[in-house]
């Protein structure tokens, strides 16, 4: 599948209102050619509606959609150069695997003699050899997923759309399939827009992640940036587990800020937007450490703990009654603290950003 031509996606002031409900509210987004962008957010945040507008199943209330240079806002779905992988796979139950994959070619009136080699090419690409004559219900969940992707790829779309494609699979298969999707996407270099509500899935598969809430894109960036420097409380809480603790601002300038929390001073690379208002710090559980003795550190009590193998997750309470989650990875034998143990909590000296 060498001769793949792909193109960027551009959403310009895109909006979709259902009555008074603004499902998608003035969204701007560019998916660069060959990259995979994830729309991540809780259910009802507008991510699926945005994707369906790109596919052409919903008409935007306002705004424009471009694929490459072409404005496709008013083009019907069957003319758009998009191909979607559905959450339900939407495999036609009355057709064989072969007929399912060849469907888009038939719809485009591809000559019969050309359909077979093209279908077989994606069958090999998706490692579905030997299953061509089966009917979809005879396949396993992972195989159905591959057929759905093969069916989308065979029409050589300029853009691939994924609508929570892995949510019907069990946990192990989900991890494997997302690896496969990513490697094929990279190999073909095809521009992709991917919708999910699973943060881990989004982070592991995407070049850029756009966090959505209430119809708006809150923050967009590479996964690392979102995790290290969330712009607000919503992103901080949605992306990973966070301890969000209010702080007192000591100093704030363009090169960073210093804040006071638990009688300790912590520096931030990025100053708060409004140093006079309520400012909070995001302390990731894995950035905190516990020790049993020593003078420095914040005194705290272990309330409960859970051992999950690679890490131990502690719930601790500081002397001023604030509850925190602390993850200790690869704990050594001297690093287990029973419930009720008095411990010392060690904070990081620097954090990337502050909220507020």
């Amino acid at each position: 599948m060498a001769d793949f031509s792909t193109a960027s996606i551009k959403l310009q002031n895109l909006a979709k209102h259902f009555g008074t409900n603004k499902a998608v509210d003035d969204v701007n987004l560019i998916v660069e050619e060959g990259t995979l962008v994830c729309l991540l957010g809780p259910s009802g945040c507008g991510k699926t509606t945005s994707l369906r507008m790109v596919a052409g199943f919903e008409e935007p209330t306002a705004g424009k959609i471009f694929i490459g240079q072409d404005d496709i806002t008013n083009v019907p779905p069957y003319v758009r150069p998009t191909a979607m992988v559905f959450q339900s796979y939407a495999l036609f139950p009355h057709m064989s695997v072969f007929e399912n994959i060849g469907y888009g070619l038939k719809a485009r009136r591809t000559p019969r003699s050309e359909i077979e080699p093209q279908v077989m090419e994606v069958v090999r690409l998706m490692e579905l050899e030997g299953h061509e004559r089966k009917s979809p219900p005879q396949l396993s969940g992972g195989q159905q997923q591959r057929v759905a992707l093969a069916r989308a790829l065979v029409i050589r779309p300029k853009v691939l759309l994924f609508d929570e494609p892995l949510s019907n699979l069990d946990a192990l298969l989900r991890v494997r399939m997302r690896g496969e999707i990513r490697s094929i996407q990279k190999r073909l270099g095809i521009t992709s827009l991917y919708v999910t509500h699973d943060q881990e899935e989004a982070f592991s598969i995407a070049d850029q992640v756009a966090i959505m809430n209430k119809g708006k894109i809150i923050q967009i960036g590479p996964p690392r940036e979102l995790y290290r420097a969330p712009v607000d409380r919503f992103v901080a809480e949605f992306v990973g587990l966070s301890n969000i603790v209010p702080v007192e601002v000591l100093s704030s300038g363009s090169d960073g800020a210093a804040v006071r929390v638990f009688d300790q001073t912590i520096r931030s690379h990025r100053p708060p937007k409004n140093p006079k208002g309520d400012v909070a710090i995001v302390l990731r559980p894995e950035a905190l450490r516990l020790s049993i003795d020593g003078e420095n550190g914040v005194p705290a009590t272990v309330l409960t703990f859970a051992f999950t193998g690679p890490l131990v997750r502690y719930n601790v309470r500081t002397a001023d009654g604030i509850l925190l989650v602390v993850d200790l990875h690869n704990p050594g034998p001297d690093q287990f603290f029973e419930e009720g143990t008095q411990v010392r909590l060690h904070l990081p000296e620097r954090v990337p950003a502050l909220l507020g």
Binding site: F57, A90, R151
Partner: protein
């Protein structure tokens, strides 16, 4: 008492011992019942065997003969004994009795009467026990029979194809497009279901007959008339299309939106998607609808009688042979001719449906959204739907107007005089109500119970049970009427001429509907609800009565009302099964249509429609379902 490791375990022991005693008592009671049944229905009689004449001395030899139906008795014994083979059923006596009772009733009331049609048609005469083809030879000598067979097939196929095509298009229009007035069109297009099929014929004659309002009074056509095959096809189309609309509407509404969107996303244009995705997905429903309309057409008795104008079909021939000439064997042979095409159609439908998978593999799919179709597809569909609705309004309008005019076609002055004739029909109305309410509740209850058995319980023979309970839907009403007469007319039953035989016949004839409704409803209910009840110590019977049934009661009442309506409007089986004392309203009404004045007959038809509408309205209130949803029982 078992002593294990020196610890006595009294409770364990007493439970299992009590169960064993219960089990033995059950077996003894069942054996006693079987013996009683045998004594009642099987008798050894001394019959004349042969007379030998030697010289002028006659010697009469006698022999002992088992009278009754030893074969049926043997089947019943097998039905009682077989369930004991299952370990699971032995463990639960209530379940065991349930399976036994269902099996016995299906054998007696479904398989046995149908079997009689086959047996009797290969018998030389009433007393003969030998195999013979003489009945079919006799049939061939009646010139009308060969023609009637051909007519029946042509009629059945034409009606099935046209009604299915029109009904499918209307169902699509009303379910998936954004045409206006859908609410009213939906009610109007399925209206013909509330009247007997032959009322359509009658109304048709009122409008388009020799003195029809439209043909004679408006257009002054006197040269041509509507009697004959084309007329029958037209009225059968009008009376059978609603069933197609109901079946297809439910299926169209359940198509996953994702599938059509996927097709569109992959480049399929609207018509291409209709052809390659939408219609293939509803193929099983289309075939079922075609089968049902085919069977409805070939068993139709009233329309050919009223509209035929000498056009003979098998159903009318069978009536003449059985009821007017009382030749049971010849009637059976005619029924046999009817059941063959029905079974072939059944087999074809089954074969096509089972060849491919139509099960949607997805879960939680979004269904039933409105397609924005281009105008050149949408408006012709809308036109077709409105046309059917207008015809319905005309037909039913003419019945109600006709009931209140002095003499239709001659004198259109208002009168209530026609209602007087209805008073004399009150006994028949009462008979019909007794029969229809009885069969409704019996069929509904048996249907729900079998639905629960086959969808929730695993036991050997489950599929056989399902088949026996379903087969009736492929059997023309005519054949069922004849089968019941053949099976239960003679000694030792003498069952014909009673209300109960009609109730049972109707209940088991419409059982498949109650069963399918029940199974569909059953699948909506989480099995763990029943398991929770059992786990908390409730018995099977209590669980069914307190948990399962209350959750299923909508399905139950839907089944009851459907069977009620079908029983109130039936004529095909009624003409065979009713007798003087049990004459049914439809039969009386049919006679009035042939012998009385059009206005008298219109009053009869109008009253029946009003009664059915009241029944539907009551049920609509009772279940909180809309009028149209009440019919959703496919």
């Amino acid at each position: 008492m078992i002593v294990e490791n020196g610890v006595p375990q009294p409770t364990q022991m007493s439970v299992s011992r009590r169960r064993r005693t219960q089990f033995l008592v059950l077996i003894l009671i069942e054996l006693a019942l079987l013996v009683l049944l045998g004594l009642k229905y099987l008798q050894v009689e001394v019959v004349e065997d042969r007379i030998e004449v030697i010289g002028n001395q006659e010697t009469v030899y006698f022999r002992n003969e088992l009278v009754g139906d030893p074969l049926l008795m043997a089947f019943v014994v097998v039905a009682v004994a077989l369930p004991f083979a299952s370990q699971k059923l032995r463990r639960e006596p209530m379940l065991l009795i349930g399976v036994q009772l269902t099996t016995i009733s299906l054998i007696i009331f479904v398989l046995w009467p149908l079997g009689q049609v086959f047996v009797e048609s290969f018998r030389a005469g009433h007393d003969s026990a030998d195999f013979s083809l003489i009945q079919f030879e006799k049939l061939l000598q009646i010139p009308t029979v060969a023609r009637a067979t051909r007519n029946t097939l042509v009629l059945g196929i034409t009606t099935a194809v046209l009604a299915t095509a029109i009904g499918t298009l209307i169902a699509y229009t009303l379910t998936l497009t954004n045409v206006p007035w859908k609410r009213w069109l939906r009610i109007l297009t399925i209206m013909p279901l509330v009247s007997p099929p032959f009322a359509v014929s009658f109304a048709f004659i009122l409008l388009f007959g020799r003195r029809g309002l439209i043909t004679y009074d408006l257009l002054h056509i006197t040269q041509r008339n509507i009697y004959g095959p084309e007329g029958i096809i037209l009225v059968q189309l009008i009376s059978d299309t609603p069933l197609v609309i109901l079946i297809l509407s439910a299926v169209f509404a359940s198509i996953s939106r994702d599938l059509e969107e996927a097709a569109e996303d992959l480049g399929g244009r609207p018509l291409f998607i209709l052809r390659t995705v939408t219609f293939p997905l509803v193929t099983p429903a289309i075939l079922t609808a075609a089968l049902l309309t085919f069977i409805s057409s070939i068993s139709d008795f009233g329309n050919p009688m009223l509209m035929g104008g000498g056009f003979q079909v098998l159903a009318t021939q069978a009536f003449i042979q059985m009821v007017e000439l009382f030749d049971l064997q010849l009637g059976a042979a005619l029924a046999f001719l009817l059941v063959i095409p029905a079974l072939i159609a059944f087999a074809i439908q089954h074969w096509i449906v089972s060849r491919r998978s139509y099960i949607t593999v997805t879960s939680g799919a979004r269904t039933g959204y409105i397609r924005a179709l281009p105008g050149w597809i949408k408006w012709p569909l809308f036109g077709l739907t409105v046309f059917m609705a207008v015809i319905t309004i005309l037909l039913y309008g003419s019945i109600f107007v006709g009931a209140f005019v002095k003499a239709w076609g001659f004198d259109f002055t208002f009168t209530t005089g026609n209602l007087a004739g209805l008073v004399s029909a009150l006994p028949q109305l009462e008979n019909s109500l007794i029969v229809s309410v009885g069969s409704g509740f019996l069929g509904g209850a048996v249907g729900i119970f079998i639905a629960w058995l086959v969808s929730r319980q695993r036991f050997p023979g489950r599929r056989g049970l399902d088949f026996a309970a379903t087969v009736m839907y492929a059997i023309p009403g005519t054949v069922i009427g004849i089968g019941y007469i053949l099976a239960f007319n003679a000694a030792p039953y003498f069952w014909t001429g009673t209300f109960s035989i009609i109730i049972v016949a109707y209940a088991f004839r419409r059982l498949p509907v109650g069963l399918r409704t029940g199974i569909a409803a059953q699948q909506q209910i989480d099995p763990s609800l029943e398991e929770a009840s059992l786990d908390l110590g409730a018995t099977r019977a209590r669980t069914f009565a307190r948990i399962t049934f209350p959750l299923l009661n909508r399905a139950f009442f839907a089944g009851v009302i459907y069977i009620f309506i079908r029983s109130m409007t039936d004529l095909s089986a009624a003409v065979f099964l009713n007798a003087g004392r049990t004459q049914l309203y439809t039969v009386r009404m049919f006679r009035v249509m042939i012998t009385g004045t059009p206005s008298e007959a219109a009053a009869f038809a109008g009253l029946l429609i009003v009664i059915i509408l009241i029944a539907l309205g009551t049920l609509s209130k009772l279940t909180g379902k809309s009028f149209v949803d009440l019919f959703r029982v496919s």
